[in-house]
Amino acid sequence: MKKLLLILTGSALLAAGAVLTQTMAQSTEPGANKAPAASDGGAAAARGAKAWANHCSRCHNLRSPSELNAELWDVSVQHMRVRANLPGSVADDIKVFLMSSAMAEKQYSSAPPQRAATASFAYLAPGDVVHGKEIFSQTCIACHGADGKGTIPGVPDLTAADGRLVNPDDLLLTNIIKGYQSEGSLMAMPPMGGNPDLTEQDMADVLAYMRKEYGIAPGK
């Protein structure tokens, strides 16, 4: 038993040592203290969505991205970074995802309801299934899962024949572009999956992909 204890302490100390030396090495690099450049918002949000779904459900239920505003997510993820021993880079990706989800959300939910709930997206080009698949497997997969059945409580099974996809395109596009949370739902669908780099056309592409993949056409 003593041996085990020694091994445990030893490895903890080693890890601490490695980290400290790395810290020192890093801080002597020129420009090491510069704020990280906002270079890859889209990719970071896609990574962040996955890391959020994976890590933020380890101890407690995932809390809906709509629960806090961007600034509070900033504080809360920092808090969780410590509690969960997350590497800073992973925590930062999660922030990209949560903060862009929350920020976009605020912006939409504050729009006065002066227009019909469903917008028309007739100006978008017909969806490109191949590109849609790409988008799906980068961003949407975090919550909807590779098979579209949903991996998180509150995420609907999109493959169900009588499920959400029987709704008309315009309604679905409105919901996924603006983000929404239906009455009593446990989790919000963040606008464009919480990825600030995606466009309305991208959403039309994913929708086309999902319709083809799950074989569900809009109902009557």
């Binding site: 890890a15 704020a35 101890c59 900033d74 410590v82 590497p87 920020m103 002066q114 600030p196």
Partner: protein, 525 residues
């Protein structure tokens, strides 16, 4: 959820200038720009060149008069011509529906029907327009409701206009109703209504101050306030955070990660993992902790703490709760290393080494008359405390499976304790506790509005004590819990739990088993 901005006026100017450069998803000047108008409203179509990301151009569509947020309709990673072509197509289609389009721009701060309400918060970072961009943010119009926000907010950087300090009030509250049957006698009780507010103050990305108190009402109707933790987290490096202050012990999983009732899958702590158990609760000192990404998604984590460590408890056991001062000059070293080959599987090992020092007189009982002088006069001694543990968690999809084991030994010690006559010799004490728990969330098998919120859970655990009869009698037990959670929201739960406890070291004639039913409402905020 409430939060408040702390004004940092002196830094406003600095923030304003740096935020433009560093914190905004800058978009360079529009390459081509059109305004399409009807009698009452303007829309604009702009081809912009993003400062970051792989796209060479995006088409920005703004409808400020209609309360609609800005949208990026298209983007291209290769060709500016693509965006220009798309912009012109849109111009053509708008013209066809009766808009009158010309080249030009609408003023970025044009009156907008869309108040961007961020409840007393600064407007979300904004501004795609060159004219506004060159204007220092500090002088941006105070009526923030006139600004438009490009679709999708920003990739994470601290929010422009966000002050250096942010704070957040979080925490949890719960109320529990207990029906207990012990030896044929049934009692019912509203026990343990608790309110645990937590405060987090963050200064940039450098320091986070976190503190949590536990406010509860005890059996005598008095209010107890206890400090759960109060710590400063200093972010040294991607893989290292220095924690100083009073912190929850990193040993094992339950105490640090699972004890808040909205997180715990059952109504109370497993046997041996609560107060007076073998799991260390908190300590005062310093801790270095962090995680290191290995490859794509594996993570190794560590936490190593130096603190005042345990002390002798009233019964002569070991108390693992933080105290401001130390009972001896020897610091305790404790910690945990964890490994996650996948994010949903974690295995960990924990340890603690420290000393406890015997006491001359049991605190709180020094007024008791000592009936007889102790036959042999003993001096209090020190004793080594060693603890090790192993834990594992599997949290994939609907499954939440956990296991923890802790083992502590304290060497023989001369000390006074509750019921002792002066200083007496106590033999080696060994405490062991373990539990295994499985929960399954029904949302995996149904999308039904109500059914998907249920989560059945089972836990079995044991707490063993050898070397201290009083503690063994009171606390040694085998316990089975069967519960059902109903998740009202991801952090609000109503649960019912059946609990069967067998006290393994009770004296003959004492009730040795108890059946309890617990109803609990827990709220994490």
């Amino acid at each position: 959820m409430r939060h408040k901005k702390i004004p940092a006026l002196s830094t406003a100017a600095l923030l304003a200038s740096t935020s433009v450069i560093l914190f905004m998803p800058g978009l360079a000047a529009a390459q081509a720009s059109y305004v399409c108008s009807t009698k009452s409203l303007d829309r604009s179509i702009e081809v912009v060149q993003p400062d970051y990301g792989s796209a060479v151009c995006k088409v920005l569509y703004r409808k400020p008069d209609e309360g609609a947020p800005d949208q990026f309709l298209w983007r291209s990673n290769q060709s500016m011509a693509f965006c220009e072509e798309k912009a012109q197509e849109l111009v053509a289609s708008l013209t066809a529906t009766g808009f009158d389009c010309t080249e030009g721009k609408i003023d970025a701060v044009i009156a907008s029907a869309q108040p961007i309400q961020t409840k007393g918060q600064a407007p979300a970072p904004t501004v795609t327009n060159a004219a506004l961009k060159s204007q220092p943010l500090a002088q941006a119009p105070q009526s923030s409701d006139k600004q438009n926000v490009p679709m999708g907010g920003v990739p994470y950087q601290r929010v422009a206009n966000q002050t250096d300090t942010s704070w957040h009030l979080a925490g949890y509250a719960d109320a529990t109703f207990v029906v207990s049957n012990m030896d044929g006698t049934t009692t019912t009780d509203f026990s343990a209504a608790r309110f645990n507010p937590g405060f987090h103050f963050q200064y940039k990305d450098l320091i986070l101050l976190e503190a949590e108190a536990e406010i509860s009402v005890n059996a005598d109707g008095e209010t107890d306030v206890e400090l759960e933790y109060a710590q400063a987290d200093i972010f040294l490096h991607d893989n290292a955070t220095l924690v100083v202050g009073q912190f929850l012990s990193p040993v094992g999983q339950f105490q640090e990660r699972l004890h808040p009732t909205w997180i715990n899958r059952l109504a109370d702590a497993p046997a041996g993992f609560g107060h007076d158990g073998v799991q260390p609760a908190s300590d005062v000192g310093a801790m270095l902790r962090g995680g290191i990404l290995i490859g794509e998604e594996a993570i190794a984590t560590y936490a190593i703490a130096v603190g005042n460590g345990p002390r002798i408890s009233h019964e002569g056991g070991v108390a693992f709760e933080a105290k401001g001062g130390d009972d001896n000059s020897n610091k305790a070293v404790s910690g945990r290393v964890g490994f996650l080959p996948f994010p949903y599987l974690e295995v960990g090992g924990s340890f603690l080494f420290g000393d406890v020092t015997g006491v001359e007189e049991e605190a709180g009982h020094d007024a008791d008359p000592v009936p007889m002088p102790a036959p042999v006069v003993l001096e209090p001694t020190d004793a080594k405390v060693m603890l090790w543990g192993a834990d594992a968690a599997y949290t994939r999809g609907p499954w939440n499976v956990r296991f923890e084991y802790l083992n502590m030994t304290r060497d023989p010690i001369a000390t006074a304790f509750e019921g002792s006559v002066g200083v007496e010799m106590l033999p080696e004490l060994e405490l062991q506790a373990w539990y295994a728990q499985i929960a399954y969330r029904l949302s995996e098998i149904t999308d039904h509005q109500i059914l998907q919120r249920f989560e059945p859970v089972v836990r079995y655990g044991e707490f063993k004590v050898s070397g201290l009869d009083e503690l063994a009698e009171e606390a040694a037990e085998e316990r089975l819990d069967v519960g059902l959670n109903y998740w009202i929201a991801p952090s609000i739960v109503a649960r019912g739990v059946g609990q069967w406890r067998d006290f393994t070291d009770r004296e003959v004639g004492e009730p040795s088993s108890e059946t309890r039913f617990l109803l609990q409402l827990a709220y994490g905020f």
